[in-house]
């Protein structure tokens, strides 16, 4: 199974550096994936702010994958799979950094920072 996949990878190696078609597809997809979030925010299409935020974050995530595939030519085969491994490792660190900071700092703010009124009320 994995042998077969490896074989297949060697055959279409020219694909790694992109073709006019792949660049054009990537560009068109990016334009669409950029235009929709801007339209959603500028014209306030969705009723609630949190829905809009979630939707535009989802669009960003999809567009990042599109850029990775069509512009950076990411795949599991390039450089013997090391680029993909490095990317996965980095993504894990990024998720820990981002979610960890937001989570910890949100709770610090919520639980430990007294507001001005509370400070004045303190003896």
């Amino acid at each position: 199974m994995s042998d077969h996949h490896h074989d297949h990878g060697h055959h279409d190696d020219g694909h790694d550096h992109g073709t006019l078609k792949s660049y054009t597809i990537g560009f068109l997809l990016s334009v669409i994936l950029t235009a929709i979030p801007f339209w959603l925010v500028m014209h306030k299409v969705l009723p609630s702010k949190s829905t809009t935020a979630l939707v535009i974050l989802a669009f960003a995530a999809v567009q990042i994958v599109v850029h990775m595939v069509y512009f950076l030519h990411m795949n599991t085969r390039s450089e013997g799979g090391w680029t993909m491994l490095a990317l996965i490792f980095t993504m894990v660190l990024v998720v820990i950094t981002l979610s960890g900071s937001l989570w910890v700092m949100y709770h610090l703010n919520a639980n430990m920072m007294p507001t001005m009124q509370e400070m004045k009320a303190m003896p």
């Binding site: 060697h10 950029t34 960003a60 680029t83 490095a86």
Partner: protein, 200 residues
Amino acid sequence: MSDTTLNNRFLVREHHPENGTLLGFWLYLMSDCLVFACLFAAYGVLGRSYAGGPGGAELFDLPIVAANTALLLLSSITYGFAMLEMQRGKVGAVQLWLAITGLFGAGFLGLELYEFHHLIEHGHGPQTSAFLTSFFSLVGTHGLHVTFGIVWLITLMIQVGKFGLTTANKRRLMCLSMFWHFLDVVWIGVFTFVYLMGVL
């Protein structure tokens, strides 16, 4: 050495990369990604701490951001065209597309500097609030990357003009290609997380 032997040797190196430059450069980009992750995390934590100053909804001008995004996206595809011409070995076309990419990049930088200048002029500099500090750090770092990308691009245009599409120059162009597309990926995060979510 004829052009075909150069090409053949180049392709062979591509199939079995003995030279780790591209992988090494990818690792550098990943470490750069961590730098941006820290700046994004700082903005995520401090982005709503206005300290009585103005917030994103009052400060951000979305049409300018949309224009910036369009410029960067266009520069990405023109760099792609340069890479395609590089594979065909056409020096003139490579130089032309690189020049167009550089102009788009310069346009992006010009608009961003105009935005920064506008903000600082109206007293909304980085010292105003934690929100603006983290905003200027994140967007400024990205802008600095674009600046160095343009410097690198001009250097490579001179290199290609002087020595042609040698193996070394092709490798350098591929590294810059990764760098340039990577900056566009970071910009997706910036315009979504900072600008669009800032005006919500």
